[in-house]
């Protein structure tokens, strides 16, 4: 009837024939499209896999640390001559000496001064501190001789983990032939072992790879992000709500909209400049603190959250708003009871991405003093701190070989942090998702 398509003879053709005739082509297109989509997902996922594989392969060894077992004589005369067990006295004692002596006993043949130095250098400079902690925690040890696992130097660690090429000429590696011999001998006696690297998770950073830990940066990131999230989510959602749902559409709101879009394109380091000029110089917020970092990152992530939230609000059908207004709900009630829950997945997506960005950002923090060597683990928003990406940046720039794996391990920690952070949001988002 309605169908203008005619066959060769001029008689009307059935739609279905036309459909059938082109169907093959359309299906080819359908398959191509679907394949494209699947390829895109696979590609995206394989990027993730590739990056992860790369990081994990480089970093997993950092979760273990080489220790050397030595019979340490904790002579009472040396550590606590008066037998008071006064912590102050215990803390002051020299713990390096018993370690060195124990090591020397293992290799009595080493007498040359230079060789002794070499021998001593197999032990981490942090070993005595660890020993001190141990003794102070358990003063019973004083006066006994214990087989203790002593932290090895980073070069030894690298050697044991195979990151140093034994075949290379002696001059080409930091570990001398002699040391390799000693380590092999200790190893044969079962005195060399890799233990789980607790230091990495409990200590702040250090110049020595074997003593360097991620705890300080992790806490710094934690404080920073808690604050960033609690500022940027309500502000972002509030601003999006206002602009999308309440604001009159006029020049002023256009200006705000353009501004927000534009802020998204501002290089993050410029936010650092802003933080420096406004928060630090003008408001006197202390430098290098999670507080100032959070303020800067909040401004940086706001555009992401606002733009995502507005897109989400736009996609809520107007009939829902009408229904609510129609039973006498106020605009604010309409938003909070009906529109926000439906827009929440998109808002959470914006938040997830914004927070991810904040967690991984380095550049603006360079400007506000976060790129610093801070050993102490921060205990609040105004303690000097650094954050994970900056720590990664610093370690990646360190010459010591031991930092290579630690850099990757730190990235893994950051990603784990990201996962934990996102998990809540992702689960929440899944709860809000629905089609109508």
């Amino acid at each position: 009837m309605n169908n203008p398509a005619k066959d060769a003879a001029g008689a009307p053709r059935r739609t279905i024939d036309i459909v059938q005739s082109s169907l093959k082509r359309r299906y080819a297109r359908e398959r191509r499209f679907r394949l494209l989509g699947a390829t895109a997902v696979v590609l995206g996922m394989s990027f993730v896999a590739l990056l992860f594989a790369d990081i994990i392969l480089k970093g997993y060894t950092a979760f273990q640390q080489t220790y050397i077992q030595l019979p340490i004589e904790l002579a009472a005369e040396a550590i606590d001559p008066d037998g008071t067990r006064d912590p102050a006295v215990l803390a002051r004692a020299d713990y390096m000496k018993p370690i060195r002596e124990a090591l020397r006993e293992q290799f009595p043949e080493v007498t040359d001064r230079g060789d002794r130095r070499l021998l001593n250098s197999m032990i981490s400079v942090g070993a005595p501190d660890l020993l001190r902690e141990r003794v102070m925690a358990d003063p019973q040890l004083i006066g006994t001789t214990q087989e203790l696992w002593i932290l090895a130097d980073d070069d030894i660690d690298m050697l044991v983990k195979g990151h140093i090429d034994r075949e290379a000429a002696e001059g080409d590696r930091r570990v001398k032939d002699q040391m390799i011999g000693w380590i092999d001998r200790l190893d044969a006696e079962g005195r060399v072992a890799k233990h789980f690297n607790t230091i990495f998770f409990t200590h702040g950073t250090s110049r020595e790879p074997e003593l360097a830990g991620i705890a300080g940066a992790l806490m710094g990131s934690f404080y920073t992000l808690v604050l960033t999230l609690s500022l940027s989510f309500p502000i972002g959602v509030g601003a999006a709500l206002y602009l999308e749902e309440f604001a009159p559409k006029n020049r002023w709101t256009d200006l705000i909209e353009v501004n927000i879009n534009n802020l998204a394109a501002v290089p993050s380091i410029v936010f650092g400049l802003l933080g420096l000029a406004v928060f630090i110089a003008f408001f006197g917020v202390p430098r290098s603190t999670p507080l100032v970092a959070a303020l800067v990152l909040t401004l940086m992530t706001l555009p992401t959250i606002i733009i995502a939230s507005r897109a989400a609000l736009k996609s809520v059908p107007p009939s829902i708003r009408e229904a609510a207004l129609g039973v006498g709900a106020s605009p604010l009630q309409t938003q909070f009871h009906h529109v926000l829950p439906l827009a929440m997945p998109g808002m959470l997506t914006g938040t997830i991405i914004g927070m991810a960005q904040a967690l991984g950002e380095t550049a603006p923090l360079l400007m506000i003093g976060m790129i610093a060597f801070i050993v102490d683990i921060p205990k609040g928003f105004t303690d000097a701190a650094t954050v994970l990406p900056v720590q990664i940046f610093l370690w990646a720039d360190s010459p010591e070989r031991g930092f290579v794996e630690r850099t990757s391990a730190a990235i893994l920690v950051l990603l784990a942090f990201l996962f934990v952070m996102n998990l809540a949001a992702v689960l929440l988002r899944r709860r809000f998702e629905r089609r109508w």
Binding site: A239, A264, A311, I353, G360
Partner: protein, 463 residues
């Protein structure tokens, strides 16, 4: 530390005020059976009271905490012997104060403690305690006064909901204005230095020059201290890297979003989406290494095998990796808006005999377009503003080229290197960073104005 406790106390007062306000409202209406008499739900009277109890008190607390120390210091230093203060610069004074403070809080002090300092420290500590308690008293008084005020005003006719809502509206307006303030802040924090820069380098050269080479201008005592500050190559470099990144991110992101929201089952979608989102959180330093050590050499050797001359730091490598990073900006945001398209529209299309891909391309995507464009714009913005990847992978050579296999540099890279390198007071080189920042800001602003008007034109609404 004390202020945290006080904050909690104020929150507790707010909670109390909420309860009281509610009860009072119910009572004023004549019991729970008559709440219909009230203008608003009792909750709103509660909120009204809570806000009255909380907001002024918290404001006062903020102000007090901001000024307390300054006032204390002023009081303490006023008591110091004038001889000690004579001719002391502000900085030295602050050192002295720091000393007093260290002493008062029991921190390590390095110099020997003079009696005056000790006295000042004691006074500081004493005043500190007094001030703390007065703050407690004042803040609590204001909180209670606010609560009382709300209490007195609570009567059935009071438009509590409207009042609470207007407070919320004001808060939301303040939130939206933060964007403007930020913009203002950015402009102010780069404007002064930019102007200084333009006094040294003519804007004409900066905007239209094609040669960027701050190296000769490295030091004042070096030759031709002006250097070459033509920013064109930086902008073309930024453009090229961003375009390459978008060529990666938009197709992959959009197609993933489509696949995940339309084809994949729930299970795949709910795992794949967060995984892709991880891409946005990997530190850019990591991408930088990846681009520089894996992708760039690969492209180079690939190019060599095809007889192409590829720079070891090609724009292509940086752009590709950056594209990977911004995939989630496109994929996740698009996925959400695509998912929000009402099913009835899809049904309408299927019922006409459309295939799934036709439905997606011709009905779903157009309906979701405003949101998708938002996501893409965000991704573009991110690409323009990204730094680290390009620093590590694309290098710093300012080539004016259209060949993606060449190395280029971007505005952001130059800003970072100029600002983090060996800076110098007032040299054109350091100031150039600010001028670049300002220019980029203005350029993207213009682009956004254009984008907004285009998006406006093509906005579609359904239902």
């Amino acid at each position: 530390m004390y202020s945290w406790i006080l904050m909690l106390v104020v929150l507790a007062v707010m909670a109390g005020a909420y309860q009281l306000g509610r009860r009072r409202a119910i009572a004023s209406a004549g019991g729970p059976k008559h709440i219909k008499q009230l203008h608003s739900l009792p909750t709103y009277y509660g909120l009204y009271a809570a806000l009255w109890a909380g907001i002024p008190a918290l404001l006062l607390m903020g102000l007090w905490s901001g000024f307390q120390d300054r006032i204390l210091i002023a009081l303490v230093t006023a008591k110091l012997p004038p001889a000690m203060l004579d001719g002391l610069s502000d900085g030295r004074l602050s050192l002295l104060v720091s000393d007093i403070r260290n002493l008062a809080t029991g921190n390590i002090v390095s110099a020997e403690v003079t009696p005056e300092i000790q006295a000042a420290a004691d006074q500081y500590a004493r005043l500190g305690v007094i001030a703390q308690w007065s703050m407690w008293a004042a803040v609590l008084a204001v909180a209670l006064a606010g609560m009382a005020y709300a209490w007195m005003r609570t009567r059935p006719q009071m438009r509590a909901r409207n009042r609470v809502e207007s407070i919320f509206s004001i808060i939301m307006i303040i939130f939206s204005s933060i964007a403007i303030l930020t913009t203002l802040g950015i402009v102010l924090s780069v404007l002064f230095e930019s102007l200084l820069f333009f006094q040294k380098v003519s804007p004409l050269e900066f905007f239209f020059g094609t040669n960027w080479s701050p190296q000769i201008a490295l030091r004042a005592d070096q030759v031709g201290a002006s250097g070459a500050f033509g920013a064109i190559p930086l902008f073309t470099g930024t453009l090229m890297v961003s375009v390459i990144a978008m060529l990666v991110a938009v197709p992959i992101g959009l197609l993933s979003a489509i696949y995940l929201s339309e084809y994949a089952n729930r299970h795949v979608r709910s795992t794949a989406k967060p995984i892709l989102e991880v891409l946005a959180g990997i530190p850019t330093v990591v991408y930088g290494f990846f681009a520089a050590l894996t992708v760039a050499p690969f492209i180079r050797s690939l190019g060599a095998s095809m007889g192409l001359d590829v720079a070891s730091e090609s724009a292509l490598a940086a752009g590709l990796v950056m594209g990977v990073m911004i995939i989630p900006f496109v994929s996740s945001l698009s996925d959400d808006v695509i998912n929000a398209v009402p099913q009835s529209l899809r049904d309408g299309s299927y019922a006409l005999g459309a295939t799934q891909s036709e439905t997606i391309r011709r009905v779903v995507i157009p309906a979701a377009l405003p949101g998708i464009v938002g996501g893409i714009l965000l991704a573009v913005s991110r690409a323009i503003g990204e730094t680290m990847i390009v620093v590590m992978a694309a290098g710093l050579a300012a080539n004016l080229t259209a060949n993606p296999l060449d190395s280029v540099t971007t505005v952001t890279v130059q800003i970072v290197t100029l600002l983090t390198g060996d800076q110098e007071f007032d040299s054109a080189k350091t100031l150039a960073a600010f001028a670049l920042g300002l220019t980029l800001f203005l350029v993207t602003l213009t682009l956004n104005v254009i984008a907004l008007s285009i998006v406006r034109k093509y906005r579609e609404q359904y239902e």
